[in-house]
Amino acid sequence: MASLVGSRVERKEDKRFLTGKGRYTADINLANQTYAIFVRSPHARASIKKINIDKALKSSGVVSILTGKEIADDKIGGLIAGWAIRSEDGTEMKCPGNPPLAKDNVNFVGDPVAVVIAESLAEAKEAAEKVEVDYKVLKAVTSTADAMNGDTIHEGIDKNLCFDWLLGDRQKVKEAFDKADKVISIDIINNRLIPNAMEPRACVADYNAASEEITLYTTSQNPHLSRLIMSAFGNVAPEHKLRVVAPDVGGGFGSKINVYNEDIVCSWAAKKINRAIKWVAERSESFLTDIHGRDHVTHAELAVTKDGKFLGFKNETIANLGAYARVFGTVTPTYLFGPCATGVYEIPAAYTNVKAVYTNTAPVDAYRGAGRPEATYTIERLVEKASMELGIDKTELRIKNFPTAFPFKQTLVHTVDSGDYVAGMEKAKQMADYKGFEARRKESEAKGKLRGIGVTSYFEACGIAPSAAVMSLGCGVGLWESAEVRFNPTGQVTVYTGSHSHGQSHQTTFAQIAADELGVPIENIDIVHGDTDKGTFGMGTYGSRSLAVGGIAIVNACKKIVEKGKRVTAKMLEANPEDVEFKDGEFVVSKSNKKKTIGEVAFACYLPGVRDEMKSPLPEGDEPGLKETSFYDPSNFSFPAGTHIAEVEIDPETGHVKLEKYTACDDFGRIINPMVVEGQVHGGLAQGIGQALYENAEYDETGQLMTGSYMDYTMPRADNFPEFNIGYTCTHATTNPLGVKGCGEAGAIAAPPTVMNAVIDALGGQEVTMPATAEKVWKACKNLKKSNAKAA
């Protein structure tokens, strides 16, 4: 049987999506359902003096109106930060309460203060307009850089500082800098982004008074984790009385990791009114209340010798958490950021210091790449600047500082098991025709255009993550993953995974893995996910962990099935279990022609007996049935890496940046489905290029979101991109049996510095902040003209 792993298998999920049969949360309608509209704060920071719902209650069709008082009275808990981070001085981070409905204070525009539940959506909207909230408006804090000097947002949290965290050794770094021939320094802003999954968040909550069970359909990347949080911290219902279903989910990119206010409020309220409640975000609500990403202000320095060896690195960053610390809010700018900030280089001494601040803006949390794009942007912009200042070719400078052997003990935390960074660089250069660039630059110049080339070499730590390691660093849960592989008596297989697919193609790629492991045709394998009533438990999908953690759980469960199959075959065929080999779906007794198919074995396991004989196919100690579970806890992170090269052409008359060429050469370890991986790379690149050239979430000084619609927030469109040129090198991960590393975030991590390095190269080294809009670039072009004129 030909192996499916490595093949371009067309997706099992596609037909339903292509024929309009996908079932997203907003498509679900329950009998006798009501509709919820949230009353949200129009102010970035205010205290709530009074809420008057009298008029609204009299509005037509209103079923109930609930506020922060009722939710507090019912002791429903708030939203939480999933990681406890300690400051450099040893003190614990400081987190404010974050009630699902604000009771006393609101802290960002969109913070919900009440929910209106009515018979129809139109009636709920009309009544919501009649809820009168009397606010005392307070001065908002919105600037990341100045947040520590602003008014105190949360009582008792001095300087709006959640933590002041250090990773690394300041003294060693000082010594390294003392020895340096040159120090390259850079000040950068990692612009705030809004994830913008195309499906707006939604939930439908239902209460069954007979079983006393709440069912929540919601747009989540991790239904089991959501249930755990809602139960353990939200006090909504005990876990066995709370079912969370995340059906088809239209993209996540990290924005659907969090349990949100609406999930808790609708679940709690459904029980209170004993009716189903449906809520679907309008896009403007998504802009205001989905978690945002990035938003760092960084000063970084690199100490180098004159021949280009890196000696030391320091990174001082202020990270904006927004109004509250959420699930991955505190780990994103710390352990997902700091360890990767030294990049793919051997740097003997380094530290990263992060001050995480609260502001009156939407909470900031994990968005595709989470911390690693910010880290990569910092080091790769700095390295590119070093190449300009040292006059060393940008690719040579990188190669000079690449690790020469693996495992590579990276400066701050990670031991990278495998990789070949030089091979990746050489292949990327060839793919991009790096040598031919100067000729192309001259051609552009002849047309009156400026051309630039930018390079990024990156690695990322994903396959999140070994439980003991992350829990030692403050994570509130272990980050293992589970799988259950269940044979039906008639031979088809159902695989239950705790991962969640919201575009990643698990229904296909996980089935490819199981098909190879079990020798069962892929059409006889179904992957089930997204329902806490189906499958044991799981931590969900983020941090490029589905395959590297969830996929391995499937492999391990399959291996247990095969082991049992060998024992059963041995009993059935009167052989030694050690003599039974499994290949292509058959158990064969070695040196004989005796064999059983895995289907026959499964059948025998479920029907363990024969007519007229007291005889079982099951060896002593084995129970009937054929179903195995694995809880896989990885021994290490996985470390995809690669080199990307971008070429831009700038029209100095307009400042328009045209991305001419984009080359990505990645090492993701073994690839299960090349077609799917290409799609992941393309999508990641689009988001990364979006950050570099188009996207920016902007608040004014009063805390109003200025980019709250697709008219104002520039989403990349089809005509913004060239055809991407992508390729791979491959070193297998040594820490998991598939040799896989993960591919979902690479594009979003590598693209921003690659594109910006190209833009800045074209601009003769002038700094431009992301996004490099025509206006900013046009101004830089004018400066360039002036300085060129002076030089002449």
Binding site: R11, L18, E199, D248, G251
Partner: protein, 153 residues
């Protein structure tokens, strides 16, 4: 309230609906044709594109009453005898979709492009699809799928 009469995916439908009902709402809520998606509130994303009398239209930009009497085709109406439309086949073959949310609008829009331009260039495809936002694919495989479909339609 008013009576809306349409031919949707080849079937005549007649329903009472409030006068301010958008075509997108009418399809989703009144006819339970949930393949047409709502991704924004400013007529930017294109997830709701359907065909009205053969031309693509963002169904959130029209009232159901505005198109009274029209022939409407939604993503649910593209298959013939259980066989997918060449555009649907091409999206599947070339991985032109990931989460599937923008897909119905993308497919409906792309079909209309090929009705109007049988052999579009890459640039023409990208320009045409400017009104359909996809966050997953980076558009590359969508462009490839449209080109593939052009050879089959």
């Amino acid at each position: 309230m008013g009576k809306i009469s349409l031919e949707v995916n080849g079937r005549k439908v007649e329903k009472e609906a409030p006068d301010n009902t958008l075509l997108s709402t009418f399809l989703r809520e009144h006819l339970q044709l949930t393949g047409t998606h709502i991704g924004c509130d400013t007529s930017q994303c294109g997830a709701c594109v359907v065909h009205v009398d053969g031309n693509s239209l963002k169904s959130c930009t029209a009232l159901a009453a505005d198109v009274n009497g029209s022939k409407v085709t939604t993503i649910e109406g593209l298959e013939t005898n259980g066989k997918m439309h060449p555009m649907q086949e091409a999206f599947k073959k070339l991985h032109g979709l990931q989460c599937g949310f923008c897909t119905p609008g993308m497919v409906m829009s792309a079909i209309d492009l090929l009705q109007k331009n049988k052999k579009p260039s890459d640039t023409e495809i990208r320009d045409w699809l400017e009104g359909n936002i996809c966050r997953c694919t980076g558009y590359q495989n969508i462009v490839a799928a449209v080109k593939e479909a052009a050879t089959k339609m």
